[in-house]
């Protein structure tokens, strides 16, 4: 059974600092997703990572995937308050089931 672990679950940062969120998964997969959720809102798609070594960047966020280590990272550069949200990674079960298994989420708070 596919299990997805994120850490840390809570992250309090100062503006301007860098930090990394980690996402480990237990079985082989061909896709990994990162989503953002603001309080009381739905999920916003951030990145889709499809292959080993994939790296994608959008603004202050950069995501990478190491399929051999079954690890994805979401790196935050020079954090700003607007990045405060909960970030989820989700892994698709291999074999075309299209079921996404989500991590528990990382609640990020960026303080001035």
């Amino acid at each position: 059974e596919l299990k997805v672990e994120q850490n840390p679950l809570f992250l309090s940062m100062q503006e301007g600092k860098n930090y990394t969120i980690y996402c480990n998964y237990s079985t082989t997969s061909d896709r990994l997703y990162w989503y953002r959720q603001d309080p009381g809102k739905s999920l916003e798609s951030l990145f889709v990572l499809l292959s080993n070594g994939a790296v994608k960047q959008e603004g202050r966020l950069m995501a990478s995937l190491d399929t051999k280590a079954r690890l994805s990272t979401l790196h935050i550069t020079a954090a700003v308050h607007d990045l405060s949200a909960t970030y989820f990674c989700a892994v698709a079960q291999q074999g075309g089931s299209e079921k996404l298994v989500f991590g528990k989420g990382t609640k990020l708070t960026v303080n001035p």
Partner: protein, 115 residues
């Protein structure tokens, strides 16, 4: 392009009642997914429909059911409501691999409260 839409936004029911939640996918998407986001339990996969057929089901009891209509919209029905069914229910839609990158786009959700 319109995103995934869900109705109603909020739904309040009492124990034992039935709830019906609705979802319209992004135009051109044939797959619809349902997820439950309950406090303390995280996001859990409920159901996946594609081309009118149920393709996969999560670890939920049979009182959670749904269907997909010919226009690809979907309904989630929850019978015999229990207090622990209170949650945000999210619908997502996507294309499948043979039609593009299977990225799931989420709707705003229906918040179901069971009293």
């Amino acid at each position: 392009e319109a995103g995934v839409t869900q109705s109603p936004t909020h739904l309040i029911k009492t124990r034992g009642q039935q709830a019906t939640l609705r979802c319209s996918p992004i135009s051109g998407h044939t797959s619809v997914y349902w997820y439950q986001q309950a406090l303390g339990l995280g996001l859990q996969f409920l159901l996946w429909y594609d081309e009118g057929e149920e393709r996969n089901r999560g670890n939920f009891p049979p009182r959670f059911s749904g269907r997909q209509f010919p226009n690809y919209s979907s309904e989630l029905n929850v019978n015999a409501l229990e207090l622990e069914d209170s949650a945000l229910y999210l619908c997502a839609s996507s294309l499948l691999w043979d039609r593009g990158v299977p990225e799931q786009f989420f709707g705003p959700g229906t918040r179901l409260t069971v009293l």
